[in-house]
Symmetry: D2
Subunit: 508 residues, 4 copies
């Protein structure tokens, strides 16, 4: 295998589209303590910029209330949720949905918590609700702030589960009314759609045509991306096939292609949901494989779109009802009670890469930081279900530029054993509702394995030979070292000897 010689000068900057946004369970869940603790941890280690979830307008948020015939727009919970997001450094990526029961034209719902998926019975009442909401947000958080919050109209209207009859015309009406209302409140607010699911690229042309023809405001477009096949249900779980990770990147790129010749060409594109499987009960999400699979997506998608939002940051999520087990195949980067999954580490590693890209490859990304460190993210390339099983071992060999006489090289590893709480949980007998002590054990086993050494810098280079285990994602940090001199220092004398018997490790 040849050694990749990483250039000493940057070839570009690392865009932040990979952490521009993250997904969340319905917004009512944001009131929960477990959720908030998870989000604080995610923000400490990863630092997303926006957060998007369903259900802002659902009954359990209490936004549209009627009492003794009087309507009141009420923000008790919305304020609690958005206040907390902002405290944690996150801005809302506002998704308008589902329908308040009092405004709904029908009683079709999705999920056990009954999000109403029908169009408004009266578009004026809907517009009044949107207007009241936006005005309140501007009052509370300031116009400058709210202008930075994208407003997305509905979720996956191309699916009958999420929009009554997947009625395209009805969606366009909803979009138009909403977009005009948003701009009526303030022309600087940003509105977009159509938030379609994978496999619905046939919506792009009519959508572009509609908004162009009627001159409907639009500031960005959005869609979702998943690579899983049909659900194979078992009790309390689902298995699925997956296509190759490249297919995710293709889905990211689709809007630009489909809109290239339209008036919407050049608009910002947001992938407002993505993951391997779209099921919240597929254990693939809990595995090291998931991290290895997504590594080339996180590193490779940064230039394709303006954001791609991992669905979701934690397992506090109830679309397949209340989870019955700590690990249950949830979307989360974290389980309930903050046990990190391998994909959490992938994101945390990305957050520690510097902003200057030195090299990109099929199994690595190398960056430099402003203060002279060099970082490496390396992974074992994996395919989808049809690909051959990943081998036990994968080698990455690099020559990395470095200043100074020596470097401190620190490596963190996540694979089938290391940094793998799911593996430890299986070894513990898959306890569905572990006690505090066992959760501590899981957290401890969830830490990446750490290795470190001192390396000589020769000719401005450090050679890295990284042997990766199956499904491994590795992070390496090289810190330039200028040893401090100490007169009299002699590690051989630690045990009082004066001979040459004891030679310090680091001097070999």
């Amino acid at each position: 295998m040849n050694r990749v010689v990483v250039p000493g000068e940057p070839i570009g900057r690392l865009s932040e589209s990979w952490r521009h946004c993250v997904g969340t369970g319905r917004l009512n869940l944001a009131l929960r303590a477990d959720y908030q603790e998870s989000l604080a941890m995610v923000q400490r280690d990863i630092g997303f910029r926006y957060i998007r979830g369903h259900g802002l307008l659902s009954d359990d948020m209490g936004l549209h209330r009627v009492s003794n015939g009087q309507v009141r727009y009420s923000f008790t919970y919305v304020d609690q949720v958005f206040d907390r997001f902002l405290e944690l450094g996150l801005r809302p990526f506002v998704e308008l949905g589902f329908m308040p029961t009092a405004l709904a034209s029908g009683d079709d719902t999705v999920f056990w918590w009954k999000g109403n998926i029908t169009p408004p019975k009266d578009l004026d009442e809907w517009a009044a609700l949107v207007r009241a909401l936006l005005r309140h947000l501007i009052d509370r958080y300031g116009l400058d702030e709210v202008r930075t919050w994208p407003i997305e109209v509905w979720n996956e209207p191309n699916l009958v589960n999420f929009w009554k009859d997947a009625d395209q015309e009805a969606y366009f009406r909803l979009y138009e009314t909403t977009a005009r209302t948003v701009k009526d409140v303030d022309a600087g607010l940003q509105v977009g759609g159509p938030a379609i699911s994978p496999g619905s690229d046939e919506w792009w042309a009519p959508f572009a045509d509609f908004v162009t023809r009627r001159d409907v405001p639009i500031d960005f477009v959005s869609r979702h991306a998943y690579t899983s096949g049909p659900a194979q249900h078992v009790p309390f779980g689902t298995y699925q096939t997956l296509t190759a990770p490249e297919l995710l990147l293709e889905q990211f790129d689709a809007p630009r292609k489909h809109l290239a010749a339209t008036a919407l060409a050049g608009l910002p594109v947001h992938i407002t949901e993505f993951n391997t499987s779209y099921r919240p009960d597929n254990p693939i999400h809990d595995t090291a494989y998931n991290a290895a699979y997504l590594a080339p997506v996180l590193t490779g998608g940064t230039e394709l779109v303006d954001s791609y939002s991992y669905w979701t940051f934690c397992d506090v999520f109830e679309e397949e009802n209340v989870p019955t087990s700590l690990f249950h195949g949830g979307f989360g980067l974290l389980t309930h009670r903050q046990v990190p999954k391998p994909t959490y580490h992938l994101y945390a590693f990305m957050a520690r890469m510097g902003s200057h890209v030195l090299a990109r490859g099929v199994d690595h990304l190398v960056c430099a930081t402003d203060d002279g460190r060099v970082t490496v993210l390396a992974w074992q390339p994996v395919g989808g279900s049809d690909a051959p099983e990943a081998p036990e071992r994968h080698e990455v060999r690099l020559s990395v530029p470095m200043t100074g006489p020596r470097a401190f090289v620190r490596r963190e590893r996540v694979n089938e054993h290391d940094g793998n709480a799911f593996g430890a949980w299986r070894e513990l007998g898959r306890p569905r509702s572990p006690d505090r002590r066992t959760i501590e054990v899981l957290r401890d086993c969830a830490r990446p394995a750490v290795e470190h050494r001192s390396a000589a810098v020769e000719g401005g280079r450090v050679l890295l030979d990284l042997a990766l285990s199956r499904h491994e994602v590795t992070f390496v940090e090289l810190i330039p070292v200028e040893p401090e001199e100490h007169t009299g220092l002699d590690d051989r004398r630690l045990l009082g000897g004066s001979d040459e018997r004891l030679v310090a490790e680091h001097e070999r």
Copy 2:
């Protein structure tokens, strides 16, 4: 007005029945951050021992789950809730209800969150659920611990809102099956009922007869107590009349009277809910009047029953849907985001009384602490809606025993102005969804007013002349003081003078 001469020796101990238990919104709400922050604050300042709420078995707790035809008893949320209670020094007062949809014989529900109120379609399946729950709790928390948790069967089965048709016979069947199942799991567990609402004393005789006749296990009896009249609804609120506070104490005492000649005589009696109004949208709960009204109940009920549980500790509560305003007439001692109401202070004052009762009166309770302090709780007596309006001022005059040459006398006042966040909120224009700054203002205005002075102890006595404002509840603490001598000390010299011009305040 005569001065009450408080005896120097205790006349008894202050029972802890007043803080034995507190009520809470449905248990799913215990997952919320706002709820948990409120509960931590309540425990710091008041220190309840048990907590009781509805909905342990409701669908949103995810206890009874079915997937692909397989039943799973799942404790994901129950464990999170009970773990947290125990961390905060609270034990569950377990209320078994409402019915999991999968076990229900009908689809009648209560509240917007749809607690199912129908009997189980199969008593064996119900028993299996109860058994699984108890065994799990014993596994997780230990048998010794769970034996201290009272288990109450259902809630207010005498009301059609809470139990299909208020079917007494069906309740007795449920009670019997449940009680036998509980004792089957472990004979040391405690079970009881019938958790009836006010105005249903006709249930006592048949209940006693039923459990006696069929030899059904029973360890305690329970009922509720409220003194409000019919609801007069307005949009987003309710007004009601109230009877006199003595009627609450009568309700407390009713079970003992009704059961006196039965086999249940002598069983522990728990008032598992009480308050002035039974409506979660009656602003009376937010007032100083509410505190003054309940002062003789808290001080006067301690010997009548084993516990009386204030319904509820905080406004995170949704039985009248999501609250639309910070102050909305909720049951809570605290509003959302932890603004204390006057009744919160009443409880916090009680928590600071010593355990040795020196005197009880219609407008005062005087206690002594183990370390020599004397405490006074004083209040303006108020009647119900039919009583004349309370005057602007009420005098309490006491002669209090005290050791030492001097005493430090510290008083805290709660009335229509002081320690009254509701009053400040009205002055602020009743902001429904106040921003953080305004919440800080409210918290600040919620603090009781503080006064302090040095008093001479003469003949082992300090004279207290307490002038109370309208609806005031006052707490006074007397600390014996032994001044430390300082040679050279002369407060008159603070400004450098050597004359007699400046005389320190405290020496006057």
Copy 3:
């Protein structure tokens, strides 16, 4: 008494010179937990920008170490202290002193902790130390950061206590060497002096002459200000006379006057220490009088100088040895264990004034905030020791501009009783080493008394009649109120009545 009509438009901005800097006990004390907790509290409530204290170079900071004949500049403690300052939002106002023993030309010391006050035995060694320190700080914190830190050469060289023989010529030599060394490290660093004590204005001319003649770098000048007379010692305490507060402002203004005709005219002027008494054992610091005395200084000095630094933020201070009593006349705004003194509240009130000055008077300052609130700081004017005793009562009558139909008026009071922990401590018998419970009582008694009401705005005006008690400092905040309308709302119905009997307070 006439009512002051406060203009509706600002007459200027409130400079931040009043909180530009604060004083501290010797820097070694900054390692203490009590100190750090106090500083965090001060920063939360007041928010100083810089902090200045003695002893950076003293032996207990371990900066200059010798072992087996080898010299090492060591930053173990300096880094801990400066890291913490920066975390708390404070920058060092670097005072270079006292002399490391190994560099000292003599063994004269000050204080029980033996700060060496002699000139360096070798100016080159001194320069080497200064150079090493500054280079380390630049390495660690960055050049841009360190360029914002003023560097002051020594402390009060005009006093024999602080500088061997108060040798002016020796000080000038030290200043010159230091200033040239500082600029040699980086020309953008700021250096200044001479940090003289009150009563030494005769130093200005020769100092200006010296630096001008020899073209010595200088970026700012500094001096101290106190208004106390000779110490009248008693065991563990000192009494002193005070001159009038105006004399403090005169001292602030002196450098500008004395330097007006010199080359130093126009340089920034920093009062690097000020207080009433210069003694750390004069109980005047603990009193409400101290706050009332300083109120016109804080409000009146803002335009005179670039900063005036209260000496000191907390009682963790050992210049008169280890304090023997919680209140002992220390300089601190806070006692040990964070009990606020009245002067703490004065500073906290100032921090809540808006930045737009509407009116200044002998007993008041009125400001407006960016969000439409109006703030008032009012005080009873007091004189020094020779002035007549302050009367029991002082009236401030204002007409204040306000928008909206109503205003929420909130007042906080500090005087001989309210917000006065020292008063409570005296009533408690002056416990020297109070237990935790008593400290809680003191903290509670240290809170300002709070009053609030709703006021009608008439003709864009609210009338304020403020009656102040003896030595009172009062803070008033007026918040514009736009009442939210509620259909059905009727406070008269709170107790269920439908008649006119109950009229809500706020509607009167």
Copy 4:
């Protein structure tokens, strides 16, 4: 090598003498934030019961103060220190020393901070001080509490550094006066001595004789233990030889032997200081060797004495002046800013052993916990300086009893690379004053390496083959596992396959 078959039944209980007490730098340092943070961490992970340090009576604690001729016993700092100890679950092991300057008969001092080592000039004044201190402690903490605090008279009076002329007769006088004073305050208080250093066993006979002859109260005896040879100084450091670890145990056992035939036989024996080297600047303390060396001492000393107190819990310690480097050979289990050293992990591992001893060996200790886990502490045996260098590898083979069908086996490793911050620090170029980022790297590298697996239990046994690296200390925990069954579970289907291709790791 033979496999050790660990019995299924306990052979005894693990005494807590190993964590009964821990040493600390002088008590004034307990006021520091860094110190308190370290102590909190130590208590969380290890949980010592008592803490002992020098300097309670030294001037910097301000206990004995004189002002204007008046003496005041002052407890400002003592209270802060002891309050904090108790909050952290620690009781003072009170060492009475050094001499307040005002009471001293001479001016001989020890350390740069000048602890006065001379006898009191007046034994009555000394007795008055002791009496005042004890009465204050009893007032503040209660008699029951203070009776549990051992009171040790002075420190190492047999050394001229610590006691003027090492005058035995003078020490005996001091001991007698002190012991009688202690008992005079309360007969239930515990007093002891003579706190002698290693190499002074000739003191036992005269001490026993003296207290017996004069009937002086004594409740326990104390001495110190170290195994280092003469100091070989280099700049800012010391190297020394060490004898074998068995010699430490011999020193522990010496008092019992020497007192066997005296009236003091049977008294509790406390080793109030021990470590390898007695120098606070010997880097041996920072190494994995130190942990491996002490492993047989911690496990082997538990039955020899009532306590042996590691000197000291953290590097906040100034007996060799202010440390000039993060790692500097300090005694601490933790460096400044809480980087754990290998010996910290040894203690933390011990704290996780259960209380039922199953087996003890030259390289292992095996225990069982109350809840059915089995724990193993294993180490590579090492000798002193004269022993051959430890080999690269050491094998420990055990057969461990276990219930259930499977076990979860978790191992933590500390050796020359893993859990070894000192090693990482050397690789980082020995930065003396690392920035926050580097400290984070060191903390991360300080974590023990973690391994885990699922093991079959066969015949009630799990076989453990532990390969230890050089100087390794390993902790292993075996948790019995009862797998939870899941219908439909099939890890081979994770990627959607239905064939046998994917076999879950844990089923192999």
